[in-house]
């Protein structure tokens, strides 16, 4: 549908341009015609002013004399050369072709044709869902509070996660906080608590949150979320090198590829330039994953800029077509989004991350991929 409209617009533009310059030619004035018409009009005005008595007869005479002199002067001047006809028609036709092409090219850069319109009135489903979730949270909370034993841990975790989805991070933190002293408070729970604190504080890893991540690591030293946020805290405190080391060590300790590594790598590579460390390549940690191998990367480094762009682009296109066949692959969408942002194609990146975001809803709260997606979308202006 949208392409039909676009083609229609393009054709209309082409036709209007192609036919421009033709048509009636009655009203074209030359300089001399226009000037003499104005002067005679001015003389008429002088007569009228005299009639109205606004100016005296003498003034009228002088004014008329002056205008007439100008009129004569104009007549003495050589007028424009004779104006030619249809030459240059080919160029106009060319322009008529170039304009839609240029417009389309520009649109290719700027537009996001696949994002549908979503008028508010048509989004009742989403609104109902949002209301339902809010309603659910209220009911769940009152039931948990009514429970004399303090309510099951799972219930509170569910409530907290619901709050997180609703963006009520402070409430989420409070819900988690009550569980901290329970014997079944595991590492994931504590790090989710810390994450809620971080979100509630606009992304600042406060000492309180830091302590939570500390404790999460005591409970399970391999908790990647806790490591991730600890590193962010270190960076915020002005120790990016320590943050870098922490992330790097954690990644090195892993035998094989893990999904959370994407966000680790993104974070590492963001810090790396400012402290003069080498950037990290995800492929190095996941030789088995689809993507450029070390050899390919090495080859890419030797290429010229253009070749490299083309190479990356071909890789991205392959990945993109694979994603069409396998749209449920969260990590794939994230990789695609990342690749697009490397290429500077924000809309492509946004779309890919958007798909990833939808899939990520099913993930447990502590998954750093969620954070990575959200951050990427934020950076992309989503």
């Amino acid at each position: 549908m949208i392409w039909i409209i676009f083609s229609f617009m393009a054709v209309a533009v082409f036709l209007t341009l192609a036919l421009s310059g033709l048509g009636r030619k009655t009203s074209d004035l030359s300089r001399r015609e226009s000037a003499s018409a104005i002067f005679s009009d001015q003389i008429g005005e002088v007569e009228k002013d005299l009639e109205r008595g606004i100016i005296s007869a003498e003034e009228a005479k002088a004014a008329r004399a002056e205008i007439e002199r100008r009129l004569k002067a104009i007549d003495r001047q050589s007028d424009d050369k004779a104006i030619m006809g249809h030459s240059g028609r080919a160029l106009i036709l060319l322009a008529a072709l170039v304009v839609p092409a240029l417009g389309a090219g520009l649109y290719w850069q700027l537009g996001s044709p696949y994002i549908p319109s979503q008028p508010f009135a048509q989004r009742e489903g989403e609104q109902a869902e949002a209301r339902e979730i809010a309603d659910l949270a209220v009911r769940l909370k009152s039931r948990l509070e009514a429970d004399e034993t303090g309510g099951p841990t799972e219930g509170w975790v569910l409530l907290a996660q619901t709050y997180m989805r609703m963006g009520r991070f402070g409430d989420a933190a409070d819900a988690f906080e009550g569980l901290l002293d329970r014997p079944n408070a595991n590492s994931a729970l504590v790090s989710q608590y810390g994450e809620a604190l971080v979100y509630a504080d606009d992304g600042v890893v406060t000492p309180k949150a830091d302590r939570a991540f500390e404790r999460a690591l005591e409970l399970d030293p391999s908790n990647p979320a806790a490591t991730f946020y600890k590193a962010i805290g270190l960076e915020q405190a002005g120790s990016p090198d320590k943050a870098y080391d922490l992330l790097k060590t954690r990644m090195d300790a892993e035998e094989e590829f893990r999904p959370w590594m994407e966000s680790f790598v993104a974070q590492l590579n963001r810090i790396a330039p400012s402290i003069g460390r080498a950037p990290v390549n995800l492929a190095a940690f996941a030789p088995s994953m689809p993507g450029p191998t070390a050899d390919q990367v090495a080859a890419a480094e030797e290429m010229s800029d253009e070749d490299r762009q083309a190479f990356i682009r071909s890789m991205v296109e392959r990945l993109a077509s694979r994603m069409q066949e396998n749209p449920g692959d969260l990590d794939g969408w994230m990789r695609l989004g990342n690749a697009y942002s490397v290429l500077g194609e924000t809309d492509g990146a946004r779309n890919a991350y958007g798909r990833a975001r939808d899939l990520a809803d099913d993930l447990p709260q502590g998954d750093p991929r969620k954070v990575a997606i959200d951050r990427a979308l934020l950076e992309l202006g989503g």
């Binding site: 949208i2 409209i5 617009m9 393009a10 533009v13 209007t16 341009l17 421009s20 310059g21 033709l22 030619k25 074209d28 004035l29 030359s30 300089r31 001399r32 015609e33 226009s34 000037a35 018409a37 104005i38 005679s40 009009d41 002013d49 109205r52 008595g53 606004i54 004014a63 002056e66 100008r70 424009d80 004779a82 104006i83 030619m84 006809g85 249809h86 240059g88 028609r89 106009i92 170039v98 304009v99 839609p100 417009g103 520009l106 649109y107 700027l110 996001s112 994002i115 549908p116 319109s117 979503q118 008028p119 508010f120 989004r123 949002a130 946004r350 958007g354 975001r357 939808d358 202006g381």
Partner: protein
């Protein structure tokens, strides 16, 4: 899909504007009719495309399509429909689109209406207009695209700053832009004339109505903004000499100078290069205003976004537009002289002095606005230039101008009899002196400037009436004759009379509301009585109201005068839920003598919900400002309706041999 259509339309529009910037210009240089004529088709196309884009954006706002980033960040589903529509131009991006829409509509206006100006001039004018369009379209598309999308879309928007959710302010930008952008046509005409290297008589004819139209819109735009500030900000001020106000005021001043100077150019063929320069400068000042408001260069109460990158882009546009046109001016102007001669005492000389004063006033405002920046660049020192500076520099210049304004219209063209004119005005001078003395007597110790200004306002009003009376020979000829003369006086003349009288009326308002304002600020509890300017105001309490997207606390104030009931005022304090900010809605009782103005704020303390901060002002004569500005604009409209200006240039005389035009 709709937003994408808008996006595509804009992309096409940019391409079309590029075509229009090139073909007509080369066509004019090489005498190619078809290329010159192509400008008509492209300007229709351009207008259609930008209008589609604008409609698409407006549609997105109306249906609250939050997949459009601009909608998501500037609207909300609960916002009243009027403000959803107005939010289309409430943000930086949307207002830019409106700017461009107006720009191309003016271009279309030239291509449709200007049948009577030489084809070459028209082609060049439209090409220059297209450069401006191309510049701003690319600026919008590459730095501030109104159709950026968000996916997944947020469930609801972030709402517009509630201060801006107001009828006065909703209408303020369109008028302001109609003014700013209207001057673009004049600019394009001037650049086209410079490219051609000569000024046609048609040129001066065309420049006047466009200038006048733009000036009327700008006047209304500025007044709407000022009026909004008066009733919405809650402390009754209407002009703050804020940089953003100044930048809209400068094109107004320059534009005023421009259409006065264009009169001379049209009637007498003089001041050609000066008129051209003013035409270039007026639009340049409009562009400067756009730049300052959108670059965050200066601190101001109501600037748009602060983004140096955008600033660089607009500055580059400015450099090309202003730098290019002024360079062209430097090359062409020295060759462009000659014109009717006149004596040192004449209408021409009067208008020259008018231009001198207006230009000085403009330069003073420009200098005051930019001086903090200049000083900071040179010494790193930061200073503020506020109202006291303008009161000391700008106001005296304008007062001198008012004196000249009284005399000027009575002078005749070429050579005038100043003594005769002055003797006709001696009664006016006497009366205004008396009024000034009376004011001084009544308000001893008050500001001296107010006394002088009141005297001058009376002088101007009297002089305007004297001029009119002498034109129709009131008292000299039989009444029937005078009436006949009054009827046949051209409308443009009435335009001048009304506009000049409007300024006098404005002056009275300016002075009244700034020199004799009184104010009471107090904690009020139900039953509290306040006395101000002869009124007794009783505070009856506060009730909670609920609006579509806000909660409101409305106070009820009953006003008495000498024990008799006068009116009830209901100032409100509104808390906008989504935007998370509050606004003050003042309540005003307006009479010719003055406004009784009330506003309330939050309760004095959380613990004392019954005790409210109440602010009551008495602003004498403030309504005269709005009446006077209305007269100014109406005077402009009257002039515009004059046949000579409306027609622009007459059609070619019938029967005249047509110049060799290639056959169909």
């Amino acid at each position: 899909m709709i937003p994408e259509i808008g996006q595509f339309a804009l992309a096409l529009a940019l391409a079309v504007s590029l075509v229009q910037s090139v073909f007509p210009l080369i066509g004019a240089a090489r005498n190619n009719v078809m290329w010159m004529r192509s400008a008509s088709a492209t300007s229709v196309l351009l207008t259609a495309l930008v209008a589609i884009a604008f409609a698409a954006l407006m549609w997105s706002f109306v249906v609250s399509d939050f997949t459009v980033l601009n909608v998501a960040s500037n609207s909300h589903s609960l916002k009243p429909m009027l403000f959803k529509v107005a939010a289309t131009w409430g943000s930086h991006e949307g207002s830019l689109l409106l700017w461009i829409l107006i720009l191309v509509i003016f271009g279309l206006g030239v291509s449709l209406l200007a049948r009577n100006i030489p084809l070459k001039l028209k082609a060049r004018t439209l090409a220059v207009q297209a450069w401006i369009s191309a510049g701003f379209l690319s600026f919008m598309l590459f730095t501030s695209n109104p159709f950026d999308r968000v996916f997944p879309a947020p469930l609801d928007g972030q709402d517009l700053n509630p201060l801006l959710q107001d009828v006065g302010l909703a209408m303020h930008p369109p008028f302001l832009y109609l003014g700013y952008v209207g001057f673009s046509i004049v600019f394009s005409f001037a650049v086209a004339a410079l490219i051609e290297g000569r000024v046609d008589p048609a040129w001066a004819r065309w420049v006047r109505p466009w200038t006048l139209a733009a000036w009327v819109f700008l006047t209304l735009g500025i007044v709407l903004g000022s009026w909004w500030a008066y009733y919405e900000l809650g402390w009754g001020g209407w002009w703050f000499w804020d940089p953003v106000e100044n930048v809209s005021f400068m094109p107004w001043l320059a534009g005023t100078a421009l259409f006065h100077s264009a009169i001379v150019t049209e009637k007498r063929g003089s001041f050609k290069s000066w008129t051209i320069l003013l035409a270039v400068l007026t639009f340049s000042l409009s562009l400067l205003g756009t730049f300052i408001v959108r670059s965050g260069l200066l601190t101001s109460v109501h600037a748009f976004s602060v983004d140096p990158e955008r600033g660089i882009y607009i500055l580059a546009l400015l450099a090309v537009a202003i730098g290019g046109s002024l360079t062209l001016f430097a090359i062409r102007a020295p060759e462009m002289e000659g014109g009717g001669l006149f004596a040192p005492i004449s209408r021409e000389a009067g208008l020259l002095i008018n231009n001198l004063l207006l230009a000085t006033a403009t330069a003073t405002v420009l200098f005051g606005t930019l001086y903090p920046l200049l000083l900071e660049a040179v010494t790193g020192e930061k200073i503020s230039v506020g109202p006291p500076y303008y009161n000391a520099s700008f106001v005296p210049i304008m007062l001198v101008l008012v004196v000249v304004m009284g005399i000027g219209p009575l002078l005749s063209w070429k050579r005038a009899d100043l003594r005769g004119v002055l003797s006709r005005l001696k009664w006016v001078a006497g009366v205004s002196l008396l009024v000034a003395l009376l004011v001084w007597y009544l308000d001893t110790g008050g500001p001296a400037l107010a006394v002088v200004s009141i005297g001058l306002a009376v002088w101007l009003l009297g002089a305007v009436l004297t001029e009119w009376a002498s034109r129709i020979k009131l008292g000299e000829a039989p009444l029937a004759e005078s009436l006949r003369r009054a009827r046949s006086l051209p409308r443009s003349h009435y335009g001048m009379v009304v506009a000049h009288a409007g300024l006098a009326v404005c002056m009275i308002g300016f002075i009244g509301s700034s020199a004799w304002k009184s104010e009471v600020v107090t904690f009020a509890e139900p039953g509290t009585q306040i006395e101000i300017a002869g009124f007794d105001v009783r505070f009856d309490g506060v009730e909670q109201l609920r609006g579509p997207n806000y909660l409101s606390r409305a106070a009820t104030l009953t006003v008495f005068r000498d024990g008799a009931y006068v009116t009830t005022l209901q100032p409100e304090r509104r808390a906008y839920l989504v935007a998370g900010t509050s606004t003050t809605e003042s309540a005003i009782r307006t009479t010719l003598a003055g406004d009784l103005y009330a506003s309330i704020s939050e309760p004095a303390a959380e613990s004392e919900q019954s005790k409210w901060t109440l602010r009551i002002l008495y602003e004498p004569l403030v309504v005269w400002i709005w009446i006077g500005s209305g007269l100014l604009a109406f005077g402009g409209v009257l002039s515009l309706s004059d046949r000579r200006l409306r027609v622009g240039a007459p059609r070619k005389r019938t029967g005249q041999s047509s110049v060799a035009v290639a056959a169909e």
